[in-house]
Structure formats: C-alpha cells, structure tokens
C-alpha cells in the first residue's frame, strides 16, 4: 500500500522542531523512520505532518561525560554499532545492536527512535532498563530527565507527553568489574525477538553485587525479572530460572505460546548467566 497524504517540514533547530510538533494536531517526528514509515505504508497511522529532525546534527553525537555515555537521539544504530567507544564503554549495547533488524535498516534507524517508540520486542528499551539509564525529553515547557524505570509505561506507551521530543539517552559507562549478558531468539536474525534478555551485573565499591535482568518480547514493556535477579545474585541459577514463572506473564502470540515463551526465557537466562560469569549452583 501507499501512505495517506501528509505534509512535511524540516526542522532547523530543536526549538523549531518543538514548535512544528506543537503547531499542528497529529504531527509526528520523523527520525530514522524505520518503524514509522512502515506504519504509514500500511496505513496503520496517518499523521497530518511529519517533522523531519534529520538535519539536527547536534542530536547525532555519542559523548562521554561524568562517568556516563550519552547518545543523542539521532545516533544511528550502525553508528553506535561501529563505534569503538561504545564497544568499550557500553558493551551491552554493542552486543544488542547487531540484533536490531538488518544493516540497511541500522544505517537509518536511530537510538532515540527505538526508545521513543518502545516496541515491546525491541532490544534497546530492555538494555536501557537493565543499565538503569535515563532519558532526556524536551517540550514546550522545557527539558526534563526520566529514569528508564519510569519511562516505559505500557504497550507503545511511554512517559513522553504530547508535544515532547526525546533528545538523548544516558547510561553509566561500564567499569572493569561489570559484566553484561545479552541473548535473544528470533525466527530470523534481525526479526523482532520472540523472547530476549539484556542483563547487567555490577559490583560497586562496597562489594554488594547487583544483577538486573530485563526481558523483552514477553509483555507490553521491557520487564525486570526481580525474583530471578535476587536468586541469581545469590548464586542460585536453577532457582532464578524457576522464579521466571512468577516474574513474567507473557501472552500467546502468533509465533509462540505463553508456555513456550516461559521455557525460552529460562533457556536465555542460562545462556546469559554464563556471560555474566554466574556459576550454575
């Protein structure tokens, strides 16, 4: 199919983008477009105006500051994937990025777009949750920062309010003792995950070990498996796998039943535990 007609405007600055977005009802931001344009082509959405932010080069940078690594919203998936800084300071993202669609799509798709859309089967929202990251938003009434934990609210529903633009995300830069794990199962490499898991194990100076397990593809949002986290932090891998029954409540979908997803979540947990260096008890 072909999209319904819409108007198009190129934003010259962030303020201009916010003004355009708020000046027309049913306006949408066009960043990478790799999820938006399919919905236009299928006429699943029909915005009145697309506000193209691709010229806002200031949103396209990866920067390290204050122990964090910041990704401007327009950083392309491929740009992050091939950045040596990301490989070093954000190894979880480096592991996840090659699973996002395919090279031609990663050349256009953006980090900010993946987070703002919040597809429940997408990799980056789960990574951001596992890493306890934060998200910068800008709107007509100024800027604010939201923790990943509070950002993903429901199916394709986030803390973004109407008229706001996601401008950047930040995650803590990896420390030498941190360990990360990532695994997903998809019908074809690059397709949306049937089930996926992003995990971070950190040992702060006081020696207390924290493990965060963020599943994707098993609910309306990325989901922390908190009981499994506790069990795994105590060295009980079997207990962690068993706890997933209580942590996750996936629905049947076209590709897998809820029971199959539960099973696969356990398979992924065992794989990821190995990557985190957790020994099987």
């Amino acid at each position: 199919m072909k999209p319904a007609p819409f108007a198009y405007a190129k934003a010259r600055s962030l303020d201009h983008a916010i003004a355009l977005l708020n000046g027309t009802p049913e306006a949408k931001i066009l960043a990478g477009g790799q999820s938006l344009i399919p919905t236009l082509n299928m006429r699943l959405s029909a915005p009145a105006l697309l506000v193209d932010i691709n010229d806002l080069t200031e949103l396209g940078r990866i920067a390290r500051r204050n122990g964090q690594i910041e990704f401007g919203a327009l950083v392309r998936h491929a740009q992050a994937e091939h950045s040596s800084e990301v490989g070093q300071l954000a190894p979880l993202l480096a592991a996840a990025l090659p699973h996002i669609a395919h090279p031609a799509i990663r050349n256009r798709g953006t980090v900010g777009g993946s987070i703002a859309l919040a597809d429940p089967a997408a990799e980056l929202p789960a990574c951001l949750l596992a890493l306890d990251g934060e998200i910068d938003l800008a709107g007509p009434s100024g800027q604010r920062t939201v923790a990943a934990e509070a950002f993903f609210k429901g199916l394709f529903e986030t803390a973004l309010t109407e008229g706001e633009i996601l401008t950047a995300i930040r995650i803590p830069a990896a420390q030498s003792q941190d360990r990360f794990g990532f695994a997903e199962l998809a019908r074809r490499h690059g397709d949306y995950a049937l089930v996926g898991l992003a995990a971070a194990a950190r040992t702060p100076r006081d020696g207390s070990r924290t493990i965060r397990l963020a599943y994707f593809g098993v609910g309306a949002t990325p989901i922390r498996a908190r009981r499994a986290e506790t069990a795994l932090a105590g060295g009980d891998l079997d207990g962690a796998v068993a706890a997933l029954v209580h942590d996750l409540d996936p629905d049947d979908d076209l590709h897998a039943s809820a029971a199959a997803k539960h099973h696969l979540a356990g398979v992924l947990l065992r794989r990821v535990a190995g990557q985190l260096g957790e020994r099987a008890a």
């Binding site: 999209p3 007609p5 819409f6 108007a7 790799q34 399919p38 691709n54 050349n107």
Partner: protein, 162 residues
C-alpha cells in the same frame, strides 16, 4: 496539506530536480519518475530488502525513506552500480553459480553483498555473510548458492589485493 516539495539530488551521478509529494518513498520515485526499475518493490515495510539502494554511500531500504528526505543527497541504484563495473565480478559469479532464479531479490542482494565486501576487513566468514544478508529474502535459491558466491568473490578479491 500535502503540497509538493522541490528537491534536488543526484541519482547515479546525474542531477535530478523534481517536485515530490511528501508521501512518495524513494523506490517509487526511482521507478515511476525516473524509470529506474532495477530496484524492486516487495514488502513495503522493510522486511524483504528488494528495494535496497545506496544513499550517500550507505545501503538503505528504498521503501523506508521518503524521496523528499533525499534532497541534497547522493543516491545510487543497481543501474548505476552495474554501469560502474564495481560489481561485475559479483554479477558474473551470481550467473555462474546459479545464485539467482527469478531475479527479484538480486539487485538488493548484490548491493548488500557489495556493502559487506567493501568494509575492508579481509574475506568475511560464511556466518558473517549470512548475518549481513539476513535482511534480504530470496524465495528461489535457498540462499546457499548466494552465500557461496559472496564467499568466492570475497576470497578472489582478497587474493587480488595481495
């Protein structure tokens, strides 16, 4: 609301000026306005890879980019890349090894394979080739011949470069 917009960009090295409807995607523009029908329209939602073209040297989905977004850019299609001779060895090997049958996926396969082969990390493994081509559907060949060809050309080019 959907007034046409002036755009100017190059396609295969030639200047193109046009007034486009914002909703027209790049591959439709190339096929319908410029009669460059080598880029194919398959799924129209980024899954099949038949519409792969290059913009500013990077492969993209022609169905997931609007023509109006290409203002000021450098677009290359299979026609231009064929004429350049850059992929003559790939094309000959595709024929030689029966890596195409109906040919619908072939332009996208060729551009995606060439993208991998110009990354300059030596000859890629079969696994790397499979991952790189994972976004390009072929419904005829079963992929093995395509992987064979890309591997063969990668090795041949690496030998030549020595």
């Amino acid at each position: 609301m959907s007034d046409r917009i002036d755009v100017a960009f190059t396609v295969n090295g030639e200047d193109v000026r046009a007034q486009v409807e914002p909703r027209q995607n790049l591959v439709d523009f190339l096929r319908e306005e410029l009669q460059l029908t080598g880029s194919h329209v398959g799924c129209e939602h980024g899954v099949c890879g038949a519409c792969t073209v290059r913009v500013d040297g990077a492969i993209v989905r022609g169905c997931l980019l609007l023509a109006v977004q290409c203002d000021g850019r450098r677009v290359e299609t299979i026609e231009g890349v064929s004429d350049s001779g850059d992929i003559a060895d790939l094309q000959a090997a595709f024929c030689e090894r029966n890596a195409l049958q109906c040919g619908f996926c072939t332009p996208g396969m060729l551009l995606t394979a060439q993208d991998l082969l110009t990354r300059g990390n030596g000859a890629p493994s079969r696994e790397t080739i499979r991952l790189h081509l994972s976004g390009n559907y072929c419904r005829c060949t079963g992929y093995h011949a395509i992987i064979d060809v890309v591997e063969e050309v990668a090795l041949a080019r690496t030998r030549q470069a020595r």
